[in-house]
């Protein structure tokens, strides 16, 4: 049975969303188009295999390359989310700065 690329994109995006949980909304705009590129290529490989233009080992080798690329998407998405947390923490610290300076009567470096 031929692969349904739309379902594949949806399944991959859902897996990414579940793995990244609350971080997903921020990462989504970057990750989804990249996931689609991978899904399109997986579908093309499946068609080559079905037409016996490539062997199963060859297909497996190619999929391994695309799995590696999927890991890069996930890693970058997670990094982007961590940077958001970093910005939020630093914004809170910056907000605390003025009252603490006032209370202590000193200017922080």
């Amino acid at each position: 049975m031929a692969l349904d690329v739309e379902k594949l994109v949806k399944d991959m995006a859902n897996a990414a969303a579940q793995a990244l949980a609350t971080k997903w909304p921020k990462a989504r705009s970057f990750a989804e188009p990249q996931i689609r590129k991978l899904a399109d290529e997986i579908t093309r490989i499946e068609a080559l295999l079905a037409a016996r233009k490539i062997t199963a080992d060859d297909a497996s080798d190619r999929i391994a390359m695309l799995e590696e690329a999927f890991q890069s998407i996930m890693g970058a998405a997670e990094g982007i989310a961590v940077l958001e947390v970093e910005r939020a923490v630093n914004a809170v610290l910056a907000a605390m700065r003025a009252p603490v300076e006032k209370a202590l009567g000193i200017k922080l470096a």
């Binding site: 290529e41 093309r44 490989i45 060859d58 690329a69 630093n90």
Partner: protein, 149 residues
């Protein structure tokens, strides 16, 4: 144990200074040299795949003709990894570099196994997709590291 009012005030002041006086870094700082290095590797990989596609099926596509490309790209990647390693919280950057390195090695082994035939054009398409996604992921993360930090 109860602290005296003076000691408590000093303790609160110390904690406040510790919290407010520093900036939290959960990721390695942005490194323009690293970004330029990966940009160069991305350019070299793209140029190589275009060349490999153009010479497919000719003697110019043989692995032995392209050993310098692999040596240069893998060597450059190793140096960038060493550079990234010296920064704290650089695990995610290193992981991206390692992923690119593993796919470069896959491409190299595939090319080597193909001998004089060279890489098949439809395999090059798979490799191009994989690398483009990886480089896009790296550059997107790097752009965020550069922003407001």
């Amino acid at each position: 144990m109860l602290l005296s009012a003076g000691r408590r005030a000093a303790y609160v002041a110390f904690v406040a200074l510790a919290i407010v006086g520093c900036r939290v870094r959960l990721m390695a700082p942005y490194d323009p040299v690293l970004e330029q290095g990966v940009t160069q590797i991305a350019t070299d990989v793209s140029a190589f795949l275009t060349l490999a596609e153009a010479v497919a099926g000719t003697p110019d596509s043989a692995y032995r003709q392209h050993v310098p490309f692999y040596a240069k790209a893998q060597g450059a990647l190793r140096v960038l990894r060493l550079r990234a390693e010296k920064e704290p919280n650089s695990e995610r950057v290193i992981s991206q570099l390692d992923g690119i390195g593993r796919n470069l090695q896959r491409l190299r082994e595939r090319h080597k196994a193909s001998g004089d035939e060279g890489l098949a054009p439809d395999y090059i398409q798979t490799a191009r997709t994989g690398f483009e996604v990886q480089f896009t992921s790296f550059f997107t993360m790097t752009a965020e590291m550069r922003r407001d930090r």
